[in-house]
């Protein structure tokens, strides 16, 4: 760490881990949390701070990773950690970064690069906290990372649907019944694409899945190194909310990618880069049918063929019709041109 008295807006330079054996062994998220067996989000927390290192402040908005994760006297956090309100991950990141910057620039605190990470769940991030996150992603003079851990429901409060719950999923707010099979008919928000497309000065947006741990950590390191506000969307299989055997969390994460439902990519300075099996799909490898993913989960047990076909068609659309496949949902320009000339 640089010992300097003059303020610098620089970030820590966190080089990517070149393979799993090069990953540091120090842990900054340890025992003490009380998450469920097979909880992928707890793994995301552990990997997130492993990637960021010790000179980090973490802000956690209300959700599983607060309520189940951080109990008085048994905190798992080795780095400084603070709760923030459900819709406040954006504001927490911004306020913490601004406070540090003010004190360092005015010589009231030793100047150094401190990572600021705020995390939120899908409810806190994509529903209630969307406005604050959006605002923070426009404040380019403050360095912070907002990490959205998406277990696709308000899982801490009893599994209620959120704006990121997939079409048709059985939640306590969308129970299938004799009269209505699918109460939840909305399609999942395209959260990372929304953040990347809507905030031209946000230099780094990425999607991750902890099934691909090294890639996930390296994206966290890139987000913290590049500077300014950044955003990462992590898909986290949830045994309790998705209703599957906890031993399958890792496999379900892989299937979400292989079926093309959740693409792995980053957008750095406007440049889209696909990763791993998503990249293979873009390059022509066949996607696995979505039923292989959906039918492993109790939350879709009520699905009939019609639902599976609808789900498959929507995912096909992401890949076949979107201007930037699985990232930007505008229809492809060639299709638009054909439509215009036909008229």
């Amino acid at each position: 760490m640089a010992e300097t008295t003059t303020f610098t807006n620089a970030t820590q330079i966190l080089e990517p881990f070149r393979g799993v054996k090069r990953v540091t062994i120090e842990e900054y998220f340890t025992s003490g949390h009380r998450t469920c067996q097979g909880c992928e989000s707890a793994l995301v927390m552990k990997l997130m701070v492993k990637a960021s290192g010790p000179r980090t402040i973490v802000l956690g908005s209300t959700g599983c990773m607060y309520v189940a994760n951080t109990t008085y006297y048994t905190t798992p956090w080795v780095v400084p950690w603070m709760h923030t309100q459900l819709g406040s991950s954006g504001s927490a990141a911004l306020g913490t970064a601004a406070g540090l910057k003010a004190l360092m620039r005015k010589g009231k605190m030793k100047s150094e690069s401190i990572n600021v990470i705020a995390f939120c769940g899908d409810g806190g991030g994509a529903d209630m906290g969307l406005g604050a996150i959006s605002a923070t992603l426009t404040h380019k003079e403050y360095n912070s990372l907002i990490l959205l851990y998406d277990n696709e429901s308000y899982a801490n409060t009893d599994i209620q649907l959120s704006g990121l719950t997939p079409f048709g999923a059985n939640t306590t707010f969308s129970p299938p019944g004799k009269a209505i099979r699918n109460i939840h008919t909305r399609w999942k928000k395209n959260m990372a694409g929304l953040m990347a497309a809507g905030h031209p000065e946000c230099r780094y947006v990425a999607t991750v899945c902890a099934s691909y741990a090294v890639e996930m950590m390296n994206k966290v390191r890139r987000a913290l190194t590049i500077g300014g506000p950044t955003f990462i969307h992590s898909l986290d299989p949830c045994p309790k909310g998705w209703d599957y055997d906890p031993m399958l969390s890792h496999e379900l994460g892989e299937l979400a990618i292989e079926t093309g439902i959740f693409p792995l990519y980053e957008v750095e300075d406007g440049q889209v880069k696909y990763y791993g099996k998503t990249k293979a799909i873009v390059e022509g490898r066949a996607r696995k049918p979505v039923r292989e993913y959906l039918l492993k989960q109790g939350r879709f047990a009520h699905f009939v063929e019609e639902d599976l076909a609808y789900f498959q068609a929507k995912v096909d659309e992401m890949w076949d019709k979107w201007e930037i496949p699985a990232v930007v949902p505008f229809r492809r320009l060639d299709a638009t041109r054909t439509a215009l000339s036909a008229r």
Binding site: P54, R55, T56, I57, L59, Y66, V67, T70, T71, Y72, T75, W77, V78, V79, P80, W81, M82, H83, T84, Q85, G87, S88, G90, S91, A92, L94, G95, T96, A98, G99, L100, K101, A102, L103, R105, K106, K108, M109, I114, G131, A132, S134, A135, H139
Partner: protein, 411 residues
């Protein structure tokens, strides 16, 4: 020919300068002197004039601070809350329904022991739309650990802002503090105001030191984990004790303010105007004091012994001192610029607080409750004469009527 020596220059930098400024601008002067670190703005009338004044100070180079325009009051208050936890001196504010939009953040700030200082430009709550003053906005946080005070003049707004940081950031307190200024009547009205030099402010106001509560990699604490029934009641009790300690800290701060600046009240808690020998004491908060003082002078000229107690501090509530001041009158009249529908006797908040404060007192003069000036309506001299007459009737009979009288209302 006068020669400006370094000593003379130093002496002149010790002098106050007199400026014609509004209440909001006076607060901004104090914030620049207090070397504010982080401030968040969001527009709503009338408090936002303070943010306009701060923005000018920042663009003009008189204040170096992180100045963030938030996307709503919820974020506005959350951003400074978090900035304060890493050691920054912060300022925020709002009015009316804007303050309500931030309510979740207002509730979490005291238990986090964040010494945020805010300006509430008091404004009627929607609906229907009204820009004028009512005190219900600030009063909504009276139970959750905010210190609340009301100021009356631009000078008092400036001085109280400096005192507010001294009190809130005292380790014995560490609670947020909201300074209420009546919308338009004070936020927008200009008066000659003495602005002290920075050297004096530095002698009065120490740096904010978050100490062992600092959120920093060198002090890796976990703040606000789930506590549940295991610990919540102890944490509430600590909040209450901090509010209790604030009483001493406020008295110390005012005494020190007088020592350094050579002005300011001896009694921090309330202003007494012709109250010493008064048979009837009227009580109010904020700029209503102007109508009350003029009316009192007129009534005194006619031989009616009326006085005023203008309450400055509502939280912590100066129970004993206020009871001592009020219980010597033959009758007291409380004029609320707020309402509390369905409350005991249908009274406003201040009247019922004072009723409660007097309950254990040996002398309990008849108390007459009034609601007046809502939505910024002018409080006329006739309104005050009417209120005083009702109080004199209560003094004569020794009884009050247990009703609440709305003054200046179309029937």
């Amino acid at each position: 020919m006068a020669v400006v020596t370094p000593a003379a220059r130093a002496a002149s930098s010790e002098e106050d300068k007199e400026l014609l400024i509004s209440g909001s601008e006076a607060v901004a002067e104090a914030l620049a002197l207090a070397d504010l670190d982080v401030v968040t703005a969001y527009p709503i009338r009338p408090y936002d004039t303070v943010m306009q004044a701060i923005a000018k100070k920042i663009s003009g180079g008189q204040l170096v601070a992180e100045y963030i325009v938030a996307e709503g009051e919820h974020s506005q208050f959350e951003i400074v809350k978090h900035a304060s936890t890493v050691g920054a001196r912060v300022f925020c504010g709002s009015s009316g329904v804007g303050w309500m939009y931030a309510m979740e953040c207002l509730v979490v700030t005291p238990p986090l022991r964040v010494p945020m200082v805010c300006l509430v430009g008091n404004r009627a709550l929607d609906d229907p739309g009204a820009f004028g003053v009512e005190h219900n906005d600030a009063l909504v946080v009276r139970d959750v650990g905010w210190m609340l005070c009301w100021v009356d003049t631009a000078q008092e707004a400036l001085d109280t802002t400096l005192i507010a940081y001294r009190v809130a950031e005292d380790r014995r307190v560490f609670l947020p503090l909201a300074i209420s200024a009546d919308g338009a009547f004070l936020t927008h009205s200009q008066a000659l105001t003495m602005v002290p030099p920075k050297s004096k402010v530095d002698r009065f106001l120490p740096r904010y030191d978050r100490g062992d509560l600092l959120l920093h990699p060198d002090n890796p604490i976990t703040v606000a984990p789930q506590a549940n029934e295991d610990w919540v009641i102890e944490i509430r009790r600590q909040n209450n004790e901090a509010m209790g300690r604030a009483v001493t800290v406020i008295e110390e701060a005012y005494a020190d303010f007088r020592r350094v600046f050579g002005r300011g009240p001896e009694n921090p808690w309330f202003e007494e105007y012709m109250a010493d020998d008064a048979d009837v004491i009227l009580v109010g908060m904020g700029t209503i004091s102007l109508s009350l003082k003029v009316a009192i002078r007129e009534m005194r000229a006619k031989g009616k012994k009326v006085g005023l107690v203008r309450l400055r501090w509502f939280r912590p509530f100066p129970t004993e001192k206020l009871v001592a001041a009020l219980s010597r009158a033959k009758a007291i009249g409380i004029i609320d610029r707020d309402y509390s529908f369905g409350s005991p006797f249908g009274s406003g908040v201040v009247a019922n607080e004072i009723r409660a404060a007097l309950y254990n007192s040996e002398r309990r003069p008849p108390l007459v409750s009034f609601i007046c000036g809502l939505g910024g309506r002018e409080v006329t001299l006739e309104d005050v004469y009417k209120a005083a007459d009702m109080c004199f009737a209560a003094a004569a009979s020794g009884k009050s009527d247990s009703k609440t009288h709305w003054l200046g209302v179309r029937e």
